[in-house]
Amino acid sequence: MSSLVLAVELAWWQQTVLRTIGVLAAVLLPAGTLVYVFLFKMMSFMQSRLGPMEAGPYGSMQLLAEVGKWIQKEDIIPWRADRKLFAMAPYIVVMTVFLTYVGVPFGPDAWFADLDVGIFYILAVSSISVLGILIAGWSSANKYSLLGGLRAAGQLIAYELPMVLAVVGVVIQAGTLNLQGIVAAQHEGAIFGWDGIGNPFILTQFVGFLIFLVALQAELTQTPFDMPVAESELVSGYMTEYSGMRFLLFFIAEFASAGAFAAVAATLFLGGWALPGVDLDADYMNVLGPIVLLAKIMLVAFLVFWVRFTYPRFREDQLQQLAWKVLIPLSLVNILATMALKVAY
C-alpha cells in the first residue's frame, strides 16, 4: 500500500522530525488561510468594506505583518500573576490544537497517527484546551480573565456533550472510531443501493451535522457563543493580560482549532479526504487528498464564520438551555433513530 511513499527507510527520529514539520505546516497553513479569507476578507465584505488592503496585493501579507508586530512586543506578565502558570497556559492551548491535528487523516498514507480510537482521541484531546484557558484566566490575577476562564469552563459543560453525542451517530453508522474507517465507510457506502457518490454522512446524519456545527461554534468560542472572550463585557476574557508572543499563540490556537475542527467535521460528515469515484488506495490520493480535505475545511469554516459574523452573542445561561434542552435531546433522538435504522437495514 505504501510501497512508493516509504521506499526510503527512515529512522524513527527522522520520521518524528518530518511529522513535526508536517503538523506545523498542517496547523499553520489552514489557520493563516482561514484568518485571511474569512476574518479579514469575508467579514469585511459582509460589512460592505474592504478589509486590509495595504500589506501585499489585497492585503494578503497582512497576517505576516501582524505576526511581526506581535513578536516585537513586550511579553508583559502582571506583577500578581502566577508566573509559571501564566507563561504555560498559551502553550497548553496551542498544544491541544496540534494534538487534534495529529488524529486527522489527509490521505491513504498521509496521516500523522492512525489511531483505532481516532475520533475519541480527538474529542478527548480537544477538551484539554479549556484547561489551558482556565489556567490562563486563573493565573492572570485579573477579574475579567477569571470570569472569562470560568465562562469557558462553564461553556464546556454545554457544548461537549452534544458534540460527542452528534459524533456517536456517525460512529454507529460507520461502525468504527477510526477516522480512516469513517472515510472509507462514507466512500464505499450507498444511498438506497445507489453508490454514485458514496454516502457522505451529512445526508443520513444531517441532524447530527447541525448539532455538531452548533457545538463547534461553542467549542471554538466563535461569536454567538463567544462569552469567554466577550470583548464588550470582559475586555477580552482570559486573554486580557496577555501580550506579544503569548497573545499570538492564543490567536493561532483560536484559528488553528477552527481549522482542526473543520477538518474533523469534514472527515465525519463530508467524506474527508476522499472524492466520489476515486480509488482510495491510489498513491496520488496522498497528494490530492490534502487538497480535497482543505477544500472541505474551507467549506465548513465558511459556515462557521458566516454564522460568526451574523449573530449577536448569547448569554451563558442561554447557551446552557439551548444545549441541555434542545441539542442533547435532539442528539439522543438522532442516536436512537440511527441505531434503529442500523439494526433494521
Binding site: 465584505f45 460589512q47 460592505s48 474592504l50 458566516w306 439551548l322
Partner: protein
C-alpha cells in the same frame, strides 16, 4: 431561570441571508454581464482614505474657521466653550474717525485667537454664539499633527480655513429668514 423562547428559525435564516447578500453586493457590485467579475473596491461603502479623498458633506463639522476682521474680542466664544479650548487675547487701539471731523474711535484689536483641537469636542457652541459672524464650520478635516501640542492652531491657521467654508444653503421656499452670507 427564564424559559428559553422557542428558537426563531426563520429570523435566524434571514439574518444569514442579510450577511450573505451584503457580501455578494460588495464583491460583485456590477450589473448585467459584468456581474461575475469581482470588484470589491467598487462595491464597498468605504473609501480607501489616503489613496482617495473622502468628499465630506457641505455642512460637515470638520474644523472651525475664523474671520479675523469680524472678531471684536468679545470673548463670548471663549466663555461659552465647555472645555475652555479657546484662547483669546486683545488690546485696545484708537482708530481714525469714520467721517472727517469726527471723534477717533476705540476698537478691540485681536492679538491671539487659538483653538486647541486636542481639547475641542466639536460641539459648535462657539460658532452658534458668535454675534459678529467671525466663526464658521469648515468641512476641512486633514489637520492632524504628530505632536499633541501642535494641535493648538493659531488665528493665521484658522483664517486659512475660511477659504474652505462653503456658502450657506438657501432655506426652503417661503422662509422669511434671510440666508446669511459667508464673509469672504
Amino acid at each position: 431561570m427564564a424559559r428559553l423562547p422557542a428558537p426563531k428559525v426563520p429570523g435566524l435564516v434571514k439574518g444569514l441571508g442579510v450577511t450573505l447578500k451584503t457580501m455578494g453586493r460588495t464583491m460583485f457590485p456590477a450589473r448585467g454581464i459584468k456581474t461575475l467579475i469581482p470588484a470589491p473596491s467598487k462595491g464597498a461603502a468605504t473609501v480607501q482614505y489616503p489613496h482617495e479623498k473622502e468628499v465630506p458633506t457641505p455642512r460637515a463639522r470638520g474644523v472651525i474657521a475664523l474671520k479675523e476682521d469680524n472678531c471684536t474680542v468679545c470673548m463670548l466664544c471663549a466663555r461659552s466653550c465647555p472645555d475652555w479650548c479657546i484662547y483669546i487675547e486683545g488690546h485696545k487701539e484708537t482708530a481714525p474717525p469714520r467721517r472727517p471731523g469726527g471723534k477717533p474711535r476705540t476698537v478691540n484689536k485681536l492679538d491671539r485667537f487659538d483653538i486647541d483641537y486636542a481639547l475641542c469636542m466639536y460641539c459648535g457652541i462657539c460658532v452658534e454664539v458668535c454675534p459678529f459672524d467671525a466663526l464658521f464650520w469648515s468641512p476641512e478635516y486633514e489637520y492632524s499633527e504628530l505632536r499633541l501640542a501642535d494641535l493648538l492652531h493659531d488665528k493665521e491657521r484658522l483664517g486659512e480655513w475660511m477659504e474652505t467654508v462653503p456658502d450657506f444653503e438657501p432655506y426652503e421656499a417661503g422662509s422669511e429668514q434671510k440666508v446669511r452670507k459667508v464673509p469672504r
